[in-house]
Amino acid sequence: MTAVEGRLSFAGVVRSELTKVFSQRSWWLVLCVAPLLMIGLAGSIGWNGAGRAEPLGPSAVVGGGFPLFALLIGVFGLLMMASEHASGSIRATMTAVPRRLPVLWAKAVVVVGVTLPVLAVAYVGCYVAHQVLAGEPVAIFEPEVVGSIAGVVGATAATGLIGLAVGTMLRNMAVAIVGYVVGLLVLPPVLLSILPAALQDTVVPYLPQLALQAMYTLGGAAGPMLPPGAGAVVMLAWVAVALAGAAAVVHRREV
């Protein structure tokens, strides 16, 4: 046996996390099949709405796929950490990387690195399929179209990071999935109904769900909503807070 060389590096931890994602056939399937399904769905919506007096704007076209992708990518991020706790493989991971935090950051890099290209292809595909089948012009380089697609891709990738943070903090898969769905989708309408009307317009646009929507809503929104750039900044702040909470848990709690 020849001498074994090697030392721990962040690049190595990122490669390790990539190996984990791509060695699980279920994720290959999800990441390949889901975009195709969504493109088909967008196409059929376009087909049914063909000849409409007021065709859907680009924000509405790409935004239609957002809730499903947000769930999918959020759960993808969430399972990256929670499934290691469920199986117990987290102990082998943290023994190899005893400083622990690099594992969280590497998973964050992989969540963004893997989902961005998939999402870019998926949303562009959705837009093109919708426009073609609706008989509308495909104006992929129009600023509003580019902005909507960039916004929705960024917003969806952000849900992956929020998912990773929630999965890291809650550890248990079922609890984390419920926590993610409740926090992101159920809380805003509840808050909307219990907050005094005077506060609603000031608080609600800053909630994650609304900030995410703001990121891809160009050309005027119904109801209280931030402009896309401000929505992105607010969402980045949410992601930073969530990952900081996750980092505290990784640092303090034993595995």
């Binding site: 493989s89 102990r91 005893p98």
Partner: protein, 242 residues
């Protein structure tokens, strides 16, 4: 060399390990014995940083495990059974671990051969039997060709052939000058494998000496162990003699 100095670990108000001090020297197989709940697993977890000591220090060749630039090349650990995520093959499990340290993929093939799993390397490791998972855990521990090896109950689930193979492997690793630290409840196996013994009970050190000193000629390790741990057994069966 692994040094454990005044290690104390308290979970809520219960002390799992109390003021434990001993040294695990290279070139020997050191057996780690003690009744259930004595703190063996806690001690082993503390060596690789999975458990943070409440007080005290654990060092590997003078440094804390978390401060090592290449942990997998210094210590290989088999702890609490070996867990693999559903749907991942043995090969990919090892490859993911190897990547953290930039270890070459050929090293994954080598350790798979070493533990005899090359024929099942591409099967989902979640379907492995206990003994196969134990072998996979040993393969993972050896990936970095480490200077020290820790194994918590490694004979669990191994067939007689596997037990013999493991005994030979541990002795070889020690003969190569590595530090080998193994816990077990099987006294007869320990008597055949270990050169040195550390015995703890209720989180405290009971004995730390060469096996020949603990077991006088004509008696067995089991007798010696029962005598030493008489007052340290946590869980006593009804009707059993103390």
């Amino acid at each position: 060399m692994i040094e454990i100095h005044a290690l104390t670990k308290t979970y809520r108000s219960v002390a799992a390990v109390r003021n434990l001090t001993f040294t695990i020297r290279p070139g020997l197989v050191t057996g780690f014995l003690g009744p259930n709940g004595a703190g063996k697993t806690t001690t082993m977890r503390a060596i690789v940083g999975l458990t943070r000591p409440t007080s005290g220090r654990v060092t590997v060749d003078g440094r804390r495990y978390v401060d090592l630039p290449d942990p997998m090349r210094q210590v290989g650990a088999v702890l609490e059974g070996t867990a693999v995520q559903r749907g991942r093959s043995a090969r990919h499990h090892l490859l993911a671990l190897a990547r953290t340290h930039g270890l070459p993929p050929r090293r994954v093939r080598e350790v798979l051969g070493l533990v005899g799993l090359e024929d099942v390397a591409d099967r989902s490791a979640a379907t492995f039997s206990l003994g196969m998972r134990q072998r996979l855990g040993i393969a993972a521990a050896l990936l970095g060709d480490p200077r020290a090896v820790l194994m918590d109950e490694p004979t669990n689930g191994l067939d007689p052939d596997g037990v013999l193979w493991l005994r030979t492997l541990l002795k070889e690793l020690a003969a190569q000058g590595r530090t080998v630290f193994v816990s077990s409840h099987l006294m007869s196996e320990m008597a055949l494998t270990a050169d040195h013994l550390v015995i703890i009970g209720r989180g405290r050190l009971i004995a730390d000496s060469a096996i020949d000193e603990l077991v006088p000629p004509g008696s067995s390790l089991e007798d010696a162990y029962m005598r030493l741990t008489r007052d340290a057994v946590e869980y006593v069966q009804e009707g059993a003699q103390q």
